[in-house]
Symmetry: C2
Subunit: 97 residues, 2 copies
């Protein structure tokens, strides 16, 4: 199952790709969500876009799920050497029409 800290949010990480797609699809189908947010940071951003594309175009095509909004931002964190580093983030908000 995909990682989630809150309802209706799917965080993209290094688990098998289809875990995340299934996580998004199930939010809409089994759990009846009206809105699901896919979140990722750094290198996982490209993967978040892949998950959104596969979920909406291959699995949820008949359900009327579309991209409502996409937000990008930066977060500052300290790396192992104690140096401040910026990492980009993305939120892809999917909505049931």
């Amino acid at each position: 199952m995909a990682e989630r800290t809150e309802e209706n949010i799917v965080f993209i990480g290094g688990k098998p790709f289809m875990n995340y797609v299934t996580g998004v699809v199930m939010q809409f189908t089994t759990k009846g969500a009206k809105e699901v947010t896919i979140k990722a940071r750094g290198k996982f951003i490209a993967r978040a876009v892949d998950v959104a594309e596969v979920a909406t175009k291959r699995f949820l095509k008949e359900q009327g799920i579309e991209v409502k909004d996409i937000k990008i931002n930066s977060e500052e964190f300290e790396n192992k050497e104690g140096k401040k580093v910026n990492v980009s983030t993305i939120d892809i908000i999917l909505v049931k029409k």
Copy 2:
């Protein structure tokens, strides 16, 4: 210099990161563009977000440049083995307020 096929479009690839940031910044400053689109495919999508974040937040902060819209999509292409593969794409549209 960043790769460009059209005016006001910066395609993100494997060149040094700052080439792309400079490309975006110069479009707004030297060339007086009102709108610049950052485009990327596949693994370069994460980099496109980094370029947009660094350009707008570090270099163009005083210029009133902001993200106007972000679009994601998929393109189908044939790989070396002749198999059809989907690749995700992103367009990040920056605009001068």
